[in-house]
């Protein structure tokens, strides 16, 4: 399966990824490395659509990657509108593709 992680880099050298952990993306088991941001862990495996807009259900993904534009928000552990480009993965975390403004877990 494709993995876009850059293991070797001519300037930065060998990548030091953290411990391999399991998170859940839309209910499915998903492998990531400690220290990675949610959005980049997903992107590495080809998941680029992170949410759908409220009105037109258009796909959105990473745009600024520094937590400013909010295009990458998803529902994380039941909390909607989490900026996944600056939120690190945690073992057992539940990440959900967000529809519109999302819903708080009751």
């Amino acid at each position: 399966m494709k993995d876009l992680r850059i293991k070797k880099h001519p300037i930065l050298g060998e990548a030091k990824f953290g411990k391999k952990i399991t998170i859940f993306v839309d209910g499915k088991k998903f492998s990531a490395y400690e220290g990675e941001m949610i959005a980049s862990a997903l992107y590495a495996k080809g998941i680029r659509k992170l949410r759908a807009t409220s009105k037109f259900k258009e796909p959105r993904g990473i745009f600024c990657a520094i937590g400013r534009c909010t295009d990458c928000v998803m529902t994380v552990n039941g909390v909607p509108n989490i900026r996944t480009c600056i939120t690190p993965v945690q073992s057992g975390m539940r990440v959900k593709t967000q529809k519109g403004l999302g819903k708080w877990k009751k």
């Binding site: 600024c64 990657a65 480009c85």
Partner: protein, 364 residues
């Protein structure tokens, strides 16, 4: 009451904190991220300029040396902390992971940096269209290749350098389009990617990005001198990532909220808070440094941060006017050097204009 609070731990904020702490000022540096350094850590290229401006040193090495210096000087750093508001008499509203509170400081430095400009075209909201800086963060910090076949929009230094870094990371930059009839950034960078096989197309633009659910292709076309597309020149290219490098704008919300006076200078990124030679805004006790005071480079941000730091140490009585003047003169001289040449001259002029407007308000 705190002595100094610095908002933003990039090169400007770090240097403001370091410089004032050097003279004994108690500084709190606040940053939203889990590590200070701002965008320095994704700059894997060697900086330009002269040795005195750390030319030849890669951005992340500068970042590391600033971090260790601030640590040595005892700068208190609050990470994962968002500044959500600024109020009269130098109150800052902050939110940590656990709580929200209000802090007051004698002096505040706003070193919030900048945000990349978007560019609207059909398909620009598709996943697979992102800022060039975003792509840089992805590959150099996150170590994830943002795309395999890339279309870069914009031939300024960001577009040129990020194109090169994409090549270094193993991607193919299919084309770089520039709406102007000539390359905007340093020719040395353009030559480098050109030699590596990237075609740089001036007087070209993106017509659309396309693909079901994410970018799969893009259409580019030639444009005339009025920036209108020339019919029949459209060309479809297979790409999975479109990068936008069309400039930045200051992240100046806190300055607006504080009631600072602004001026509008498109070449510096738009609305710019007026500031003195000491980097103080029109609101007494609130300073700016780095991109928030006009889009430039990390090297100028470092000097502006220093200036704010020295000026603060002086006004809090930690150093004499004479000593401060001597130190500031070094930074002013350094800034003058950084703003020389065909690329720097324009910035020097606009910065002079800002100073003139500031001084006319203060009738100095």
């Amino acid at each position: 009451m705190e002595e100094v609070m610095v908002v933003g731990g990039g090169p400007a904020g770090l240097c403001a904190a370091i410089e004032s702490a050097r003279y004994g000022v108690k500084v709190i540096l606040i940053d939203e991220n889990d590590m200070p350094g701002g965008q320095l850590f994704k700059q894997i290229h060697r900086f330009f300029g002269s040795a005195q401006h750390r030319a030849g040193i890669r951005g992340y090495d500068i970042g590391n040396s600033l971090l260790s210096e601030s640590e040595k000087l005892g700068v208190r750093v609050l990470l994962n902390t968002v500044v959500w508001g600024i109020f009269q008499d130098n109150f800052l509203g902050i939110k940590t992971e656990k709580e929200t509170k209000i802090l007051q400081a004698k002096k505040i430095v706003v070193g919030t940096g900048a945000l990349e400009n978007p560019l609207a075209f059909p398909g620009w909201t598709l996943p697979g269209v992102m800022g060039a800086g975003a792509a840089q963060t992805m590959m150099n910090i996150q170590r994830v290749l943002p795309g395999k076949r890339i279309l870069m929009i914009g031939s300024g230094n960001v577009g040129l350098i990020v194109s090169y870094q994409l090549l270094q990371a193993g991607a193919k930059v299919v084309a770089l389009v520039e709406a102007l009839p000539k390359i905007s950034g340093y020719l040395v960078h353009a030559a480098k990617i050109s030699r590596a096989g990237v075609q740089i197309l001036t007087s070209h633009t993106i017509v659309k990005a396309d693909g079901k659910g994410e970018v799969k292709k893009a259409v580019i076309a030639k444009i005339d001198e009025n920036f209108k597309m020339i019919k029949g020149t459209e060309k479809e290219i297979k790409v999975d990532l479109v990068c936008i490098a069309v400039g930045l704008r200051p992240l100046d919300e806190l300055c607006w909220m504080a009631g600072c006076q602004f001026t509008y200078i498109p070449s510096l990124g738009g609305f710019i808070p007026l500031h003195s030679r000491d980097m103080e805004t029109t609101v007494s006790g609130i300073y700016v440094a780095g991109d928030v005071s006009g889009i430039e480079e990390a090297s100028t941000a470092i000097e502006e941060g220093k200036l704010a730091g020295i000026a603060i140490a002086e006004s809090l009585g930690y150093i004499s006017k004479k000593e401060a003047e001597e130190k500031k003169e070094l930074s002013w001289e350094s800034l003058r050097e950084l703003r020389l040449g065909s690329f720097g001259e324009g910035r020097q002029k606009t910065k002079d204009l800002i100073l003139k407007q500031y001084n006319s308000l203060h009738k100095m």
